[in-house]
Symmetry: C2
Amino acid sequence: MNKDLAKERQSSVLRVQELNSFIGRNLFLSDERYKQVLDLKSVLASRIKSLYDENYENLERGQKYELVLKKSLELIEFASEHNVTNYMEYTYLIGEVMGTEKHLFGLHFTMFTISLELWSTPEQKAYWDRFLKENGVFGTYIQTEIGHGTFIRGLETTATYDRNAEEFILDSPTLTSIKFWPGASGKTCNYAIVMAKLIIDGKDHGIHAFVVQLRSLENHSPVPGIELGDIGKKHAYEAIDNGFVKFKNVRIPRNNMLMRFAQVLPNGEFKRLGNEIVMYACMLIMRGILCMFASLLQSISTTIAIRYSCVRRQTADPTGLEPQIIDYQTQQYRLLPGLATSYANFFATIYFRNILNSFRKRSKNFSEIETNELAKLHALSSGIKAIVFDECLKFGQINRLCCGGHGYSASSGLQPVIQEADAGCTYEGDNIVLYLQTARYLLKAVQKGFSPHLELDNLQQIEKSDLFKRFEKYILLFRNLYESQIGEISNRMFILIEEEKLDRFEAWNSSSVALIYINLFIVYMNLNGIYEHQKSECSENQVILEELFELYLSYGIVEKFPNHFLKLGLIDGNQMTDHQNRLYELLKKVRVNAVCLVDAFGWTDSNLASSLGVYDGNVYEKLFQFAKSSLFNQNSENPVFNKVARPYILAKSKL
Amino acid sequence: MNKDLAKERQSSVLRVQELNSFIGRNLFLSDERYKQVLDLKSVLASRIKSLYDENYENLERGQKYELVLKKSLELIEFASEHNVTNYMEYTYLIGEVMGTEKHLFGLHFTMFTISLELWSTPEQKAYWDRFLKENGVFGTYIQTEIGHGTFIRGLETTATYDRNAEEFILDSPTLTSIKFWPGASGKTCNYAIVMAKLIIDGKDHGIHAFVVQLRSLENHSPVPGIELGDIGKKHAYEAIDNGFVKFKNVRIPRNNMLMRFAQVLPNGEFKRLGNEIVMYACMLIMRGILCMFASLLQSISTTIAIRYSCVRRQTADPTGLEPQIIDYQTQQYRLLPGLATSYANFFATIYFRNILNSFRKRSKNFSEIETNELAKLHALSSGIKAIVFDECLKFGQINRLCCGGHGYSASSGLQPVIQEADAGCTYEGDNIVLYLQTARYLLKAVQKGFSPHLELDNLQQIEKSDLFKRFEKYILLFRNLYESQIGEISNRMFILIEEEKLDRFEAWNSSSVALIYINLFIVYMNLNGIYEHQKSECSENQVILEELFELYLSYGIVEKFPNHFLKLGLIDGNQMTDHQNRLYELLKKVRVNAVCLVDAFGWTDSNLASSLGVYDGNVYEKLFQFAKSSLFNQNSENPVFNKVARPYILAKSKL
């Protein structure tokens, strides 16, 4: 164990085990289930070698694909053997093998399976359940086209009904209509849900879902009429074959359209059915889980950067010693707000998931939910998704810079975190579009006079607590900020434009309302988390979590929204200076417990997949080991150099 | 030509050719030389195929290395054939072949050659000049160690003098002393300048430079006693073999120490000589060039994102048409300040290079420069380097997000720009350390009562001009901001601490002074650029450049420093609202000329190496072509899948 890290762990009073249990209990809803998941995790660790131990980051793309395919299948087997069916648990376990890399069949277990389940009629569901069980189906979900992303109504792929054959004819009429990006569709999956525009007798009936076979179940060759392949390298996800798919009059049976919400009868008659709202609910659930993972992802880059900042020493102080870089204020100012944000976003996403679950229960799987409740949840989920990924990206990048040169090595493990966050700002709804959706909802709420706020079940209790009193000053500031800001913007909007044109005018300005609102929500959820934590009766941890929360609040005032606070007159210049000074004090306090606070997330070395973040702090050994494992070092000579550069050298030496 | 891009070009009154000439004249110091460089660039384009045309981004690392090695040698030949010796011109030309990728021998032509030239005695210089000419030497510069980066005095590698043999013994005594990161040192270079701690008779004489052979000139095998290799994958630079080098008592002749500033006599006597200041000057020149390239790099990501934002249409407006996404205010708010910053930073770095050159001339290659002048230049160069790379990274990332999903494809060309900027925030001085150095200089200046500002030769003229009057209000705001801020911080510092402990206390706060100061410098340089541009007598372009400049200024007030302006009372809430409104107006104005403004940078498709940024706007064709060129598509089947997944599928279908 590295001495500096050992000292950090000794000198903090944080009870890591207790805090970790609290986190686990919240993630998996009970202590028992968390313990079971941890047990499964260690069985898994002993059974399947992690990518981190396979020199994964040094491999070439083809090798990565093969390895990830292998591990993905082993993980499916493991899950089935141990009856892990909960997606959240499954994904958590996967991290022990995959680190921060993606499972190859992620879409199979999410979008493919969920849409089959939610959008099929009961008969179709029974059929596909059985079909999936009896065949080696690997499914994906195909929606985005080369020229069409955000705007689903703009999709060009057609599914034209042929009444005589009782078949749909799938076609990609243009270059821009070629399906592009779906995960594992290029080389791996053999089935897909394909979103296409339904045409009957020349009439456009909108976008619907169709089950389409892509490749043979016998020999994996593409189905005739389908041209498909990998889309080439991306900023990350080297092992995943995101694909393109081009249909040339491909025929599928009528029954391959998923018909729970709309039906095409054999004679070509089109009928809308049931409550489409459930389709949105599916998106809500996905987003709830996604945000939770993004907050955990941020805790991973934070763990790496904080541990390494304790191990790394740089630049002599007056005594000639090189201090741990975490002792520099500039380093604390960049690292520790990221730590506070990791916890805050974790609390926010956990409790948002709980809120969703309770709505789901109360409304019979959302089928009886009221439209305005759904709108509220949708606005909230959009904003949370956007902010959590934005912050994961922002602090991931900061953490990379905090790790200096070595942070740039693929062995740092930071790149996959940053790249996942970066992609996450675009996928499942472009963040800017999401902020605007939230903003539009908030403006509508203020104009029509209804409250956008969710009522927490325990809000009244919380507001009576001592805890609340300790933070009341801050919380009122953030609440006032939101109210002043929405008031100001709402007035401007009213004068400037009708609602429809909102996204063209003052859009940027209004999106800051969404930011502030979601921040207020996170503040409340963080408070709620600490309130819940009181039940643990672990006073050491309670104090530390409160310091961390105050850091989150101070940082919000001083760095996130200082201009809004000042502009609206909620804080004057002198008060801002006081907040700054308080922030500096809090950095010193939080710094003392920083290592234990990241330890409490409980990430294993395989989870982190990082030379810089290893638990024992033997960073330089790991870095050097990674270097030696470079594929370029398989030969101590350099045959390529001799082949390519030798003639040049010979020519030179003849001069 | 894509219709939307054609329309953009038709509807703008900007005279692209004229603006491009102005840029080129500034880069290469005369119209004639710019024309010559352009001519050379087209000869080069016809002679050597660019990486962009070689499917580079889809290749595996080994293939990339081989290709880049080949191109690098061809480029060296080309430069020697056409007598291109100016580094700036060479690097500019290289872009036509390499796009935004690095030449494999970048360090050979910079740090290796420059340090040999500046740190050698005249006899050593003559010797090495000849040696380099007659041998196929590829040199690199080896300084950083696995445990030591920023703090040069902390380096552990020793060069111990053996008086009897008249040799130095190079050794890596610890794991942390292993040299790590130097470019092309792992597998490619055969010589290096190695920085090591000189030890004579057990006494430490500090860090000095030694010429060390790494590999045989005959067969490229490592020199005995040197263990070296590639350090493995990084976030970028796949083709470059950044290396590790471990010395085990490697002997080199006494004369291989570069002795211009310090000598070791045969008997072991140590003598300091000459004016070490020239060593810093070398760093200044390097930084001057580096910053210029970073500003150009930003113009590349801006070109890509702006062109694609005109081609891409998304989400129907009330009329049912999908608008060009550049027409969304949120998109303009993210894209166009980046464009304004590209120009502002270009002007700033160009004129800073000119200032450096004139100092160089006046002071006989810096040898007669006064220490306080050097300190001023150093503070300025540190801050500019930090801010230009920070902004290149920030806007590069924003540009990627502005390009949506396709921005994430390796074919977008955005990743190398972002990754270069990211690395650049660490290399050649960690940005945070640089900001603090600038801040420390500024605080010293205010305390000792001297002005930190550079006097522009033509400042008086500029201040009398109409141009100045048009921008006076803004410029005074920024100047007042700097002065109020430095005053405030200086007072706090004076009360709080003695100067030595500055980097431990309030460091973050003081670094914002550096940011504001450098921003003020950029404002002046931008003004200077527009003042110089008046001589072109191209009134259309003049108006457009002034709009762009005003956008830069407005953005600075509203987005970069609003909290500082408000906190110090330089702007009140209502005035801030006015600035915001003005910013929205300016976005609309600049949007009209955005495409022509990026066209004026004159980047070819090979320079950009981007499917999304192609001049003709045929974006989707390029994207699809890139997809089809994925190495995963060489076989329409998937043998790996059949090997790995077939047994799983068979097992399933037996159930």
